[in-house]
């Protein structure tokens, strides 16, 4: 899901940090206490049970897709061989 806003600080003891995330029109507020890298607005996060468990840079998503396409024997212009 994409991060659209962030409140709070991972090191703030009393108020846990929260992100507003969005995916295909659905928004949710999720906790950032346990995420590996604090996301910035615009980053994508993997969410589980109301908490972000991983922040990815858009680059990761792109690389993953490229690998999948390569495996499937697709050429760069998405035509099957």
């Amino acid at each position: 899901m994409k991060v659209t806003a962030i409140e709070g600080d991972q090191d703030d003891i009393l108020i846990p940090p929260v992100a507003t995330v969005e995916a295909r029109g659905v928004t949710s507020r999720i906790r950032l206490d346990i995420v590996d890298r604090m996301p910035r607005v615009g980053d994508y996060v993997i969410v589980h049970a109301g908490f972000a468990i991983h922040t990815l840079a858009p680059e990761d998503a792109r690389k993953s897709m490229a690998l999948l396409q390569e495996m499937a024997g697709q050429t760069n212009d998405n035509q099957p061989r």
Binding site: I53, L56, M71, A72, G73
Partner: protein, 358 residues
């Protein structure tokens, strides 16, 4: 998008066929979401006949012993207690009934999406005791730990967790050590791996000479994972490969693991079907004992025998198919489940029943 996905699938299927070239291979997945995705997408029928997919103990609800479920139900019926739980638990049968039936008998039970929601319920109901049922593997444990930390910091007096988390690697070790198990490769769980890292499967790959591939939940991800496993088998390799880089790193999420360690410590735990496995569960550390529902209510788990004739234990190990259970689809159906494999939406029997596999 349709033709694109179908085209990709065809490409991957033909590579799988090339790699297996008629040689029988058996791959196990140990993640409830993988189980569901495999069934929903109808992958099995598309794979070459020689490739067999088996569902292992990937459903945390399914591996919770009946005695523990009875404890949870007992707690839920106590006056003044609100039980907050993930939806998964509601219909799991205890020895007499399930949480849904307990609710019909007056238990106050609220289904939540996040342990943080359970905390909010506690804050909004200061005159009640809120018990959150802590079920799940390493994907869920850190968020429960973070919630316990928050409750502790905020000095919340009426919030507790009933800890029933399980850890995947020790279970894999026991499972694969069973001489009856015959597996050629492991489809590693998706989001458990986000937390523990792909490297957590190295001991398994080495000890059991087992190819391991971490993969995502989309049907194409799963096909890719199977393809990589088939290729490793054909080349005689046994490495850990990560095909889910967008969510999983080699090292995993250290911060999350640290938070687990702060709140929990490993303990022995009983797994339905696998028996007691050392260090495979989590218990709440003494520092947070006020938030430990087990300690607070002093409940003790009674060892309850499996329902007579129930094959869940064998099915969880991937050693029997639902169809081999005499009760499958007759006495044991999603409406009248005997064992958790049928009632949990990720359970193997439920998947077979719902998606019509035989």
């Amino acid at each position: 998008m349709t033709d694109f996905a179908k085209g990709m699938a065809q490409g991957l299927l033909s590579k799988i066929k090339d790699a297996s070239s008629g040689k029988p291979m058996c791959f196990m997945e140990v993640c409830g979401t993988h189980t569901m995705s495999i069934f929903r997408s109808g992958i099995r029928k598309l794979l070459p006949r020689e490739i067999r997919l088996v569902s292992g103990p990937g459903c945390p609800v399914c591996v919770t012993p009946v005695g523990e479920i009875d404890q949870m139900i007992e707690l839920s019926l106590l006056p003044g207690v609100i039980t907050a739980t993930f939806g998964d638990m509601l219909r799991v049968p205890g020895s007499t009934y399930n949480l849904s039936e307990a609710r019909a008998r007056g238990a106050e039970i609220k289904v939540v999406y996040s342990p943080a929601d359970a905390l909010e319920i506690a804050e909004n109901n200061p005159d009640k005791e809120v018990v959150f049922l802590g079920i799940g593997f390493e994907t869920t444990a850190p968020s429960v730990a973070a919630t316990i930390l928050q409750a502790h910091r905020n000095k919340l007096k009426n919030f507790m967790v009933f800890p029933s988390h399980k850890l995947m690697p020790p279970a894999l070790d026991v499972l694969l050590s069973d001489p009856e198990i015959d597996m050629d490769g492991l489809i590693c769980p998706g989001h458990v791996s986000t937390i523990i890292g792909a490297r957590a499967f190295e001991p398994v790959a080495e000890k059991f000479q087992m190819p391991c591939v971490v993969t995502g939940f989309e049907p194409l991800d799963i096909l890719q994972g199977i393809c990589m496993l088939a290729q490793q088998v054909s080349r005689g390799e046994n490495m850990v490969e990560n095909a889910y880089r967008r969510a999983v790193s080699w090292d995993g999420n250290r911060r999350a693991r640290k938070i687990i360690e702060t709140v929990f410590k490993p303990a022995d735990a009983r797994w339905r079907g696998l028996g007691t496995i050392a260090g495979s569960g989590l218990e709440i550390r003494k520092k947070f004992r006020q938030l430990d529902a087990r300690r607070h209510f002093g409940t003790r788990e009674k060892t309850v025998p499996e329902p007579k004739g129930c094959q869940c234990a064998q099915i969880i190990k991937g050693m029997a198919l639902p169809s081999s259970c005499p009760m499958f689809s007759s006495a044991c159906t999603p409406l009248t489940p005997v064992g958790p494999c049928m009632v949990s939406s990720e359970g193997t029997c439920a998947a077979y029943y719902k998606y019509g596999e035989s």
